[in-house]
């Protein structure tokens, strides 16, 4: 069916309002939202969870479910009104002219259908192609998304591919019918950073190749900067600022946008000179929005009597074409003023060694097939000879992608598993062979953990106070209930939660507040070592800064050793004293934060740094995209674990990388690196991220 020629914007969203209807009332999810996308343009939609950005995408697809309804406004796609289309017209539109890529690639592919059939379905439905033609198209598309061996891929089931490969298939499926508009809803959130970098480049290249317009939804400002031409910031169901990328990133004119940028770590952020500023307060629930400006109660520039009167319209920003902001005080605020200095004292020095890990190994036995048993037994080499020290009052970051063995190390340290070889010394006592249940109370309370997902770690049917009391009972702290109760209240003070929260249930708390409870529980027994496993990655940007700050504050006051597991190098750089980079069970680099973040790098660290999106236009980045996936720990490559993806390999003579695991070398300043590259070659390395010398 030929599409009538249309030379205006591909997509025009005009004052869209969407509500979800429950039995008792209507909850507005998106209000008065307007956005246009021109042909070939990529527009980023940014906001925290619950701000309505996914609802906008689903409204464009007209897939709002049983409860959602468009209650106002128009969505025009190439001049045709989507809101008035019937089912047949919608079916023709979906997958054909507008396609979508989702957050979880594994969940969005049918597990019981071969990849080939899932791809072929698109041209067979929309263009009445024969099976053979559809197959040829699918083959071509799989090659386009740069997957190796397309024929084999077409015959595979989704579970046989890695996460990155699956997402490439989802992208291929979306592009099968050359849609005019591609909607990407957090397409890389579930992926590792180096895989993410590959996907982002692929999306950019294919967008340019096919001239596809894109609506890129993300909470990651750095990604938006790398992929989009324009950006729209959403807050609580409304667009609060919209404009060209450079305008919004460098001359933002809405307090929320500014607060958002100040809450995320950029390369020149520093704990002491330019600390992160958390946004105070909480995101309003859709049915508890304030009068007037939605951001008002959290805004530093709020003027009572002005901002809390009526709805705030979008206003033009003078001087910047197409830049609008939903703020009444654009002209009054001094946007260049630096954030108020928090006046936090410098960190006290680092003390003696609390935790020493010596040649620690952890291998798992794996039956060839868990369900049906038998077969040869295979060994997962999860940790290979880890050796390092952690000191009192120090933050040691453990960095690496999924499968690098950081979680296994955490399990061994906590005593959930015992070590295969080597030693872990806590204050000089060996603990590597003692399971949690057999450890003494002192040891258990001395090593505590803060988990990634605060939503799952609290018992949903126990009050907050009860859960902290329980931890105190287990650690045998205090002699009476009264003593423990007062200690519990002090712990709530410590994590800056109101004492009244003791009687609340976890579901009455926000994500950030739950994580604070988890931190209180971890510090209940004055832990000497706290292992924080991605403690902020499940939280929204505005809350991340506050939780990070809390962790470091408590650490400073207690002299705790903080082991900070993360894949977010931005926060690692901001937070940690030393960094340990892991790859496939090995420590590949270990040094102070400055050493690890400046050349010479381990080739893996170099790629990892390049993969992390930076949300600041004043920095430029060398692009290094790693090919392929992380090898399996069951069948690691011979020699250096990183040799299969290393771009420096050819600089090592004699194919040494493929035959021998490099030894740990010590560079000047106790900077340790596991690489065969010789010093002069290491010296050639250029910094990955460079500041363009712009003053902020």
């Amino acid at each position: 069916m030929p599409t009538p020629e249309h030379d205006g914007p591909v997509l025009e969203i005009d004052r869209l309002s969407v509500s979800f209807f429950t039995r008792s009332r209507a909850i507005p999810a998106v209000m008065d939202f307007s956005l246009g996308i021109r042909p070939g343009e990529a527009v980023g939609l940014v906001g925290e969870s619950g701000c309505g950005k996914s609802t906008v995408a689903l409204a464009v697809m007209r897939d709002l479910g049983v409860n959602g309804r468009i209650v106002g406004g128009r969505i025009r796609f190439r001049g045709r009104d989507i809101t008035a289309m019937n089912d047949a017209q919608l079916r023709h539109l979906r997958g054909n002219e507008i396609a979508m890529v989702y957050q979880e690639p594994m969940a969005s592919l049918n597990p019981a259908m071969r990849i080939g059939r899932q791809l072929m379905e698109v041209p067979m439905i929309h263009h009445q192609k024969s099976r053979a033609e559809a197959r040829a198209l699918a083959l071509e598309m799989v090659a386009d998304v740069k997957l190796p061996d397309p024929r084999r891929i077409l015959e595979s089931y989704p579970h046989q591919l890695s996460g990155g490969q699956q997402q490439r298939i989802v992208i291929a499926m979306a592009l099968m019918s050359r849609p005019a508009l591609l909607i990407l809803d957090e397409p890389t959130t579930a992926l590792d950073v180096t895989v993410e970098a590959g996907i982002v480049r692929l999306i950019r290249d294919l967008g340019a190749k096919y001239g596809t317009s894109m609506l890129f939804i993300s909470h990651n400002l750095g990604l938006i900067l790398e992929t989009c031409d324009r950006i729209c910031v959403m807050y609580s169901g409304e667009a609060v600022e919209r404009g060209k990328i450079e305008d919004v990133f460098d001359r933002m004119r809405h307090p929320y946008t500014q607060a958002l940028f100040r809450a995320i770590p950029v390369p020149d952020a520093d704990r002491n000179t330019r600390p992160l500023v958390a946004i105070p307060g909480n995101f309003p629930l859709p049915d508890e929005r304030p009068r007037g400006c939605n951001f008002g109660p959290r805004c530093a520039y709020r003027v009572p009597g002005l901002c809390d009167q009526g709805r705030v319209p979008l206003q033009k920003v003078d001087g910047n074409k197409g830049h609008v902001s939903r703020c009444l005080r654009i002209a009054d605020i001094d946007w260049t003023a630096p954030p108020a200095a928090s006046g936090r004292g410098r960190k006290p020095g680092i003390g003696k060694v609390t935790l020493r890990v010596e040649r620690l190994k952890k291998y798992h036995d794996l039956a060839a097939n868990a369900l049906f048993g038998g077969g040869e037994r295979r060994v997962v080499r999860a940790n290979e000879t880890l050796s390092f020290d952690a000191h009192e009052g120090e933050t040691l970051a453990i960095v690496g992608e999924s499968g690098c063995g950081k979680s296994t190390f955490a399990r061994v340290l906590m005593g959930l598993e015992t070590a295969t070889e080597g030693r872990i010394l806590l204050h000089g006592n060996e603990i590597q062979d003692i399971a949690t249940g057999d450890r003494s109370r002192e040891t258990v309370s001395a090593i505590q953990m803060v988990f990634q997902n605060p939503f799952d770690t609290l018992n949903p049917s126990m009050t907050i106070g009860r859960q902290i009391l329980r931890a105190l009972e287990v650690f045998d702290i205090g002699n009476s209930h009264a003593q423990r109760h007062s200690r519990m209240l002090k712990l709530l003070d410590l994590v800056k939660l109101p004492r009244a929260f003791a009687d609340r249930l976890p579901r009455q708390l926000s994500g950030g507040q739950k994580q604070r409870v988890a931190i209180a529980r971890a510090f209940a027994g004055d832990a000497a070592v706290v292992l924080a496993d991605e403690p902020v990655s499940a939280l929204d940007v505005s809350v991340q800064a506050a939780v990070t700050e809390l962790l470091t504050d408590i650490q400073r006051d207690h002299g705790t050793t903080l082991l900070f597991i993360s894949h977010d190098l931005g926060i690692v750089r901001y937070l940690s004293d030393r960094v340990l980079v892991m790859y496939l069970g090995h420590i590949v680099e270990l040094g102070t934060t400055d050493q690890v973040f400046a050349p010479p790098y381990h080739p893996y660290t170099e790629a990892l740094l390049s993969a992390v999106p930076v949300a600041d236009t004043s920095f430029s980045k060398r692009e290094i995209v790693l090919e392929g996936d992380v090898p399996s720990a069951i069948d690691p490559p011979p020699g250096c674990p990183f040799q299969t993806r290393c771009r420096w390999k050819h600089r090592v003579a004699g194919g040494l990388c493929e035959t021998r695991v490099p030894p740990m070398r010590t560079l000047p300043g106790k900077h340790r690196i596991r690489c065969h590259l010789e010093d002069p070659i290491l010296g050639e390395m250029q910094p990955v991220i460079t500041a363009a010398g712009k003053a902020r």
Binding site: D63, R91, G95, M100, Y102
Partner: protein, 348 residues
């Protein structure tokens, strides 16, 4: 796949041995034997007489030996009794003693003699299994497609009027036991109480000549009872699949509703109910007793009740062997089918 089936068969044989030994042990407990002696010999036998009666017939040998003989891996006993008569396990009733084989157990095809029916156990089990087999087949043919259609229709639009109607029907049928629904059916469709008289109220004639008229009611009674259960399982599974993200992917790819249900949802939705369906076979084999009695259809369940009621040890053992084999082999089929339906599971 071949090694998997081989390995599973090995496990099955082991399980079968254990299970039959347990049944053998329980049926050969002394009070049972005493009762046997008294019913076969004389009700006024003294304890000593019972012991010598049993001893002469090999019942007092150690349990593992007796089990080995019954199985046919040990030679059958040959005992010169206290009364001077030479008895052997393998001495046939119409066979010269010299010709008697040394081994005569289940493995040799000698399943023993039923005291209740005065016939070879093998013959009885064969006939009854055949009769119940037909019943099972018909029930499966009605129940499974019916339940799957009901479940899929109900689950594809969760909460719709169709879903609520079908769910009510399936709950009602599952909540009505066979002895209630069977009686109602007979009253409505076969008696003069209502006067419809479409079907026969008894299935006795169906043992020789199966017709729609005489076989419909027992089949319907059992099917309806099982159908609701499978339909509920299928509905839950289907409803869950329909909310999965890949269904949204398919919808936003432009696949029509029929295509979504048939191509994308169905295979995934059938994985869970398949196991439940295979579990219906063992249940049907022995669970049809009530229906068989109600409609006077002398099948496997009926034979089991007769054997248990009459202390017919050898028949009981024979029936348990068949049951064990049926249970284990349907579970093997269930596992293989599961692997075929679910590509995420691969056998090595």
């Amino acid at each position: 796949m071949a090694t998997f089936i081989l390995r599973r068969t090995g496990t099955m044989i082991l399980t079968a041995l254990c299970l039959t030994f347990i049944v053998f042990f329980l049926t050969n407990l002394y009070p049972n034997l005493e009762k046997l002696a008294k019913t076969q010999g004389n009700f006024r036998m003294s304890d000593e007489e019972v012991a010598s009666w049993l001893g002469n017939r090999g019942f007092l040998q150690p349990m593992p030996v007796k089990y080995g003989q019954w199985l046919g891996i040990l030679p059958g006993y040959v005992i010169r009794g206290t009364d001077g008569v030479l008895r052997g396990k393998c001495f046939g009733r119409h066979m010269a003693r010299e010709d008697a084989p040394r081994f005569c157990g289940v493995l040799q095809g000698d399943w023993g003699y039923s005291l209740r029916f005065k016939d070879e156990v093998r013959a009885i089990v064969g006939v009854r299994l055949g009769l119940t087999g037909w019943l099972m087949l018909m029930v499966m043919a009605v129940m499974v497609p019916g339940a799957l259609v009901m479940g899929v229709l109900a689950g594809m639009r969760e909460g719709s009027r169709l879903d609520r109607t079908l769910s009510t029907v399936s709950i009602v049928t599952t909540a009505t036991p066979e002895y209630v629904s069977g009686v109602i059916f007979i009253a409505v469709f076969a008696s003069s109480a209502v006067g419809l008289k479409w079907f026969k109220g008894t299935a006795t004639a169906a043992m020789n000549d199966m017709t729609f008229q005489n076989f419909a009611l027992p089949v319907l009674t059992i099917s309806l009872y099982g159908m609701g259960y499978i339909a509920r399982m299928t509905r839950a599974s289907m409803a869950e699949v329909m909310t999965a993200q890949y269904i949204r992917t398919a919808r936003l790819k432009g696949v029509g509703f029929a295509g979504i249900v048939m191509k994308h949802a169905l295979r995934n939705a059938l994985i869970a109910p398949f196991t439940v369906i295979m579990l219906q076979f063992p249940w049907l084999l022995n669970g049809v007793v009530i229906t068989e009695t109600l409609f006077n259809y002398k099948g496997f369940g009926w034979a089991l009740v007769e054997a248990a009621g009459n202390n017919d040890i050898e028949l009981l053992l024979g029936i348990s062997v068949v049951s064990v084999i049926v249970v284990l082999s349907t579970q093997l089929i269930s596992d293989i089918g599961y692997v075929l339906l679910n590509p995420r599971i691969r056998v090595s």
